[in-house]
Amino acid sequence: MIYTTAIFYFFSAILVLAGLRVITARNPVHAALFLVLAFFTAAGLWMMLEAEFLAITLVLVYVGAVMVLFLFVVMMLDINLDKLREGFWNYAPLAGFISVLLVIEMALILGSRHFGLDVMGAPVPHPADYSNTKELGRLLYTDYVYAFELAAVILLVAIVAAIALTLRRRKDSKYIDPAEQVKVKRNDRLRIVKMSAVKREVSGVRGEEKNP
């Protein structure tokens, strides 16, 4: 088991370090990138727990989509860290209280009585043809179908609300209807005129030319 244990500690060390750097890095872009690293290593740990579908989905959704948009915003903003840190000591007592509360809550849950190795043993290894994805899908659409559909509806409402909040019709936007553009034929824009060639008079004055 040394092999898997070594992999586990390797991933865990990276995860903890990356998590620490997310909150200590001075540059917000660096912090966002460390968060990406944290997600990726967490996916590695989930993979070791035989939660392959969830692990790959974590990478697909959080690393591949959410964090890209996050980075997008962070890169565009000009964040002045000194200004952000101005009120640090004013907020420190409240923040300290909340963090202590969080630590106590976590300790209660993660205490060895509820979360130890004897309660949460290593996952039973499944045969190669066991499909994690299929099992998860079956559970989601049978036992947990109401909760699942509710979550989907809430997400849909959130999408519609987000679009509705940001939608504004600008009067000065030069909107082009692509269908109109595609429909345009040559004759709508171009007129071909047939003209007979006229010989230029050599001795004539420039202004008298018939065909400019």
């Binding site: 990138l33 790959i56 997008f72």
Partner: protein, 343 residues
Amino acid sequence: METGLMESAGMDWAAIQTVVWTLVKIMALVVPLMLGVAYLTYAERKVIGWMQVRIGPNRVGFQGLLQPIADAVKLLMKEIIIPAGANRGLFILGPILAIAPALAAWAVIPFTDTLVVANINAGLLYVMAITSMGVYGVIIAGWASNSKYAFLGAMRSAAQIVSYEIAMGFALVGVLMAAQSLNLIDIVQGQAGGLHQWYIWPLFPLFVVYLIAGVAETNRAPFDVAEGESEIVAGFHVEYSGMAFAVFFLAEYANMILIAALTTLMFLGGWLSPVGFLPDGIIWWLAKTGFVLFLFLWFRATFPRYRYDQIMRLGWKVFIPITIVWIVVVGGMMQTPYGYLFH
């Protein structure tokens, strides 16, 4: 999934053996892939040359066959310049993050029903997850260069890749509905029985969307606004020189081959022979992938560059609705007696 790794974990010696054997397999995959990339650039220049009634490279070696080697040597010898205002660490990390996913995705690509580095159950999902990380290389390179052109290119590219990934993902959902599996080998074997069994026919709209989204995803012409020579010089890699630039180039072409291979596997029957009397084999895989790659080059020689807002419109307002409608059609048809047409 990961059976090789998990089963052998009990014994360390077996684990070491697995690692070494996997490394050998990776080398056997990466070396031909890199050669393929090198000669794809040659093929591109030759094919576009012929389409434009030119000769293309013909000086180095017979018919210019050594041209890619000469290019690689030239790029290796060049100096890598790191701009003074650049973010050093991330500037170097950019190309690495571009090429790593482009190569890692190849781990699950089967060449025949036995020739594959890792035959995992959720192969399709893995490919989607890994390729979605390729955008980081572009974004980081653009930001770390500390140059406006590079940054604009990175922003365009990121927005484009994120938009087209959705349409691409939906196209893949159609495939997995038809194949009822995420395993790439199973997907190909679901198309056994000849030309008319390939998923290109029942999933034709999805095939078209996937192919075009694939071109957009790899930032190839006509969707190459991220590079847009006429407006933002070369986009995200404008500050890169020498081998750092070449790595971006390798990643782009490795991604092209990957998209072509995936199109082959999911819609064109992979290594399966189109007719019954000819045997299946890797030769069909190569021929079909080569044909899709030829389409990539053909597009580049044919179409002018899309305008940026039109790219976004095509992705969000055309492709995503098409894929959603066709997924509903496939799902609905499967409930009818004609469901066999969609399997």
